[in-house]
């Protein structure tokens, strides 16, 4: 393992320059704020599945000074749009979700709750009736009715329904693919008709927020983009060019939000500001200087340093972006399942968790994130076992040659691991571990936009990357990642290994429409086992999302789907 150690040392040295500067200056400079509570991250660990925010509503904002009652959040990338129907970006959702509510919402652990919907029941496996909570108001004072819900979903599913800047179809149509039509039953009831049973429906419906029919019809999409208006806890105030900064203030007429998720009622904060700070160290600095109250995407290697600062609280939440190393199963040497299994055994996931993620990640037991509601708990991560890996490779014809490097028919075992910059350290760790096994794997960094088409065309050998499952359901994930690639469809759109198994394909299709939960589990368990055994990828890790906040921020929890729910948050 001395190669790993060399790699670790090299990496530490590389990051050391900036990290140690940070550490020194932070400790020297930031002892300033009064030491209130040394905040580690209670209850934020994966195991401590404490109930979602329960503390009672705190100081009413009316009594606080406005300056103290403003909260600033730094995000890493600008939202793509503030139109709830016109984006496919997490940052957009993070910001939009504070101004718009949906029929359903999620708690920080991923559980689904009624929000604008008061009740929802399946009339038959293809028809869903949703009753809307009475008394919900938009921020312009108008009541939210069934017409608005119908309008919102029709705007999402109809071709070219968004007219600005050029007529186009909502990029969120795919997130409600099975919805064929929606109609109003009475002023507070809608009926949704689906193509077939949609077992993951509630989880998926969380991703749509209700817009006002009258407002959009009057002001057009441009009006909605320039001045968003929803039924959420905060009203839009202003946004700068490129959505680098979005300012919003409390909507006093807010109906209160999901009754299951206290505090219920208007937001605690008077004002909320989202600002884009793309550079990680600048984001951390802005938190330390007191300019920002919450920052997202904190790097794992700065966590220890930040935790030493009494004015800062660091919290983690199990992420929704599991990582794999996909291997091109259509090309030698990865066309042999034994080789792919061997690589799974050769990678020490625990060491990766410890060294690359500073302990803040967990090994993957198979093709699904362990947090997915349908992950098979019986599948255990491939245990690190170098001799087993070597034995499998020997079976496949790879034997140690000169310098201990593996070779077959005189040709050395060598390949390129492609990845993008954000997973560079992980790919380098894999390369070091594989070298230890006798495999010469080099790392090549790409821009994601450039490499993905090449991967789908089967032109590359191996790729380290992620594919999210923010809905915690196999739909959106299994068909994208592990089914046969079909151009022009959603199937296999992330199948970078080129893996294709007709049984798995069938199971994935069955799972999408199976309404019975136990049967659905059985279907997905079989699919996961097949993929696990055939190992089209090295199943790596699920990193935790890390966020940090100033100690004055109360009742704040990072969410698994990377949303910042500021409704619940207050500042002292």
């Amino acid at each position: 393992m001395n190669r790993i150690r060399t790699w670790t040392v090299a990496r530490t040295l590389r990051q050391g320059a900036i990290a140690s500067t940070f550490a020194g200056l932070m400790l020297a400079g930031c002892a300033g704020p009064p030491a209130s509570t040394p905040t580690a991250a209670p209850g934020s660990g994966p195991a401590a599945a404490a109930p979602a925010p329960t503390s009672a509503p705190q100081v009413n904002a009316g009594t606080s000074t406005p300056a103290r009652n403003t909260l600033t959040v730094a995000i890493a990338r600008a939202p793509a749009s503030l139109d709830p129907a016109d984006h496919r970006s997490r940052e957009s959702e993070t910001v939009i979700r504070n101004m718009y509510d949906g029929l359903f919402t999620r708690d920080t652990k991923g559980g689904v709750h009624m929000e604008i919907a008061e009740s929802a029941k399946w009339l038959d496996p293809k028809t869903l009736e949703v009753k809307i909570r009475p008394g919900v108001k938009f921020q312009d004072g108008s009541p939210l009715t069934a017409d608005d819900v119908v309008f919102t979903f029709e705007r999402t599913i109809k071709e070219n329904a968004i007219e600005y800047p050029k007529p186009h179809t909502s990029p969120r149509k795919g997130l409600v693919e099975p919805l064929v039509s929606i109609e109003k039953k009475d002023s507070l009831t809608v009926v949704m008709n689906f193509r077939g049973p949609w077992p993951s429906g509630f989880q998926q419906l969380v991703q749509h927020q209700i817009v006002s029919k009258a407002y959009v019809e009057k002001n057009g999409t441009k009006g909605l983009v320039d001045k968003p208006m929803g039924a959420g806890p905060f009203k839009f105030v202003s946004a700068t060019t490129g959505l680098e900064e979005v300012v919003m203030e409390r909507f006093d007429g807010y109906y209160g939000g999901a009754p299951d998720l206290p505090p219920v009622g208007p937001a605690q904060l008077q004002r909320a500001v989202f600002r884009v700070i793309p550079e990680t160290s600048s984001r951390v600095a802005a938190l330390l200087s007191g300019e920002m109250d919450i920052i997202t995407e904190v790097p794992a290697d700065l966590v220890d340093t930040l935790k030493k600062n009494p004015g800062i609280q660091v919290k983690t939440v199990p992420g929704t972006r599991p990582l794999w190393m996909d291997m091109n199963v259509k090309q030698a040497p990865f066309d042999d399942a034994r080789v792919r299994q061997a690589l799974n055994y050769a990678i020490d996931k625990d060491l990766i968790v410890k060294k690359v993620y500073n302990g803040m990640a967990r090994p993957l037991g198979g093709p699904l994130s362990p947090l997915n509601n349908f992950a098979d708990p019986n599948l255990k991560p491939y245990q690190y076992d170098k001799s087993k890996a070597l034995a499998l490779l020997k079976d496949a014809g790879w034997t140690p040659g000169a310098g201990g490097m593996l070779a077959k028919d005189g040709k050395p075992f060598t390949f390129v691991i492609d990845t993008i910059d954000s997973t560079r350290s992980l790919a380098e760790a894999l390369s070091a571990m594989l070298r230890d096994l006798g495999v010469d794997a080099s790392v090549r960094i790409w821009e994601s936009n450039v490499v993905v088409p090449k991967l789908l065309a089967g032109e590359r050998q191996a790729y380290v990357g992620d594919w999210g499952d923010a809905a915690f359901d196999p739909v959106g994930h299994m068909e994208a990642k592990w089914s046969t690639y079909k151009q022009g469809s959603t199937y296999g759109r992330a199948s970078y290994s080129g893996y294709s198994n007709s049984r798995v394909d069938k199971l994935i299709l069955d799972g999408e429409v199976e309404g019975d939960v136990a049967k659905r589990h059985a279907i997905y368990n079989e699919a996961q086992k097949l993929i696990y055994d055939e190992a089209p990828a090295v199943f790596l890790v699920l990193p935790e999302a890390i966020e940090a906040a100033s100690a004055r921020v109360q009742n704040w929890e990072p969410a698994a789907d990377s949303r910042e729910n500021l409704h619940d948050v207050s500042v002292k």
């Binding site: 020297a28 403003t70 490129g242 802005a286 450039v450 022009g488 959603t490 759109r493």
Partner: protein, 336 residues
């Protein structure tokens, strides 16, 4: 007469810009990555028909020469096309972002001159003294220091430790400033908004120092060496011999002549400043052109990259023209 000469020089920039446009057009099409793939998100989830439609919409299905013709003929009419990613006309995007970049560039230029002029002059008159050695060592450091590193160090010291200056952004969210030119400092002055002036100056300070440090170092070194050269010339001896005070000798006879090569260097550095913006804007979350261009390159947003490079090129050409005009004032014997 001079006005006609300047106009002539402006007209000469037209073929230069045309050349730049053609080179940029072909170079970005050599980079791998298909804009339509990128536009539609991670490939595969859209039908071939939709891709064809988009290709057609942006003329990407036409031969390169035809695309070039569209680009040039639209460009002449002031239409730089439509950004694939941002869904907005490129001209609008550039106009929105340019003021922030101009403001930072001017700030950096001022900072560099404020630092470089005294250092250059003093180290030339006190050649080989401790001051000279220290300032030249400082200049060496300034040249070698990468912008992002200096930026982070400044942030850590002035924003995190001392908490004197903000670490990011152009203005605080609670300051209301009526926009006139888009240059916040200037707008604050124009509208007589003191709070905004102070706030925007504080925000401008660290980025300007970061960006200006490298330029200051180069300018100081150039000024020092030309000053030394000029100090050895006969007319300086003459000036001293006729009894002019040392101040007059240095400031009037020596500095004015030494400034000519310095101005050239400063002019060329404007190009460096525009390039350096991309990094400094990222470190300080400065919503300028640099960050827009970086995003555009990653997303293969051809029209936006083309538009931005044209702006850079045009600024560079104009700066050089300004330098030439400035020469004629510094040395009346030089004509355009």
């Amino acid at each position: 007469m001079k006005a006609i000469k300047i106009l002539e020089r402006v007209l000469v920039t037209i073929p230069v810009m045309l050349g730049v446009a053609i080179i940029v057009f072909f170079f970005i099409r050599l980079t791998p990555g298909d804009p339509v793939d990128i536009m539609l998100g991670r490939g595969g989830a859209v039908s071939a028909g939709q891709m064809e439609e988009l290709r057609h919409q942006f003329h990407l299905d036409e031969p390169l020469m035809v695309q070039l013709w569209y680009f040039l003929s639209d460009g002449v009419r002031g239409d730089l096309g439509y950004s694939y990613i941002r869904n907005k006309p490129v001209v609008d995007l550039l106009v929105e972002r340019l003021p922030a970049t101009i403001e930072m560039t001017i700030g950096a230029l001022l900072v560099s001159l404020i630092i470089a002029l005294p250092i250059g002059i003093i180290s030339a008159i006190r050649q080989n003294s401790l001051v000279d050695r220290l300032s030249m060592a400082g200049a060496f450091l300034g040249i070698s220091m990468p912008g992002f590193w200096l930026g982070i160090i400044l942030i850590l010291f002035f924003a995190v430790r001392l908490q004197w200056l903000p670490a990011q952004g152009r203005i605080s969210y609670d300051i209301h400033l009526q926009q006139v030119t888009g240059l916040y400092v200037l707008d604050s002055l124009l509208t007589g908004n003191r709070a905004a002036l102070w706030d925007s100056l504080k925000h401008l300070a660290l980025p300007s120092i970061t960006l200006g440090a490298g330029v200051a170092a180069i300018v100081a070194r150039v000024l020092r060496s030309t000053m030394l050269e000029v100090l050895r010339s006969d007319y300086i001896k003459l000036a001293r011999a006729k009894g002019a005070s040392e101040w007059i000798v240095i400031m009037k006879h020596c500095l004015r002549n030494a400034l000519i090569p310095t101005v050239t260097v400063v002019g060329l550095q404007v190009g460096v400043l525009l390039g350096g913006n991309m990094i400094v804007e990222t470190v300080f979350s400065w919503p300028g052109l640099g960050r827009l261009v970086v995003d555009a390159i990653f997303n293969r947003d051809f029209p936006l990259i083309q538009g931005a490079v044209m702006v850079y090129a045009f600024t560079f050409v104009l700066t050089n023209l300004a330098v030439d005009v400035l020469y004629t004032y510094l040395n009346p014997r030089i004509t355009l």
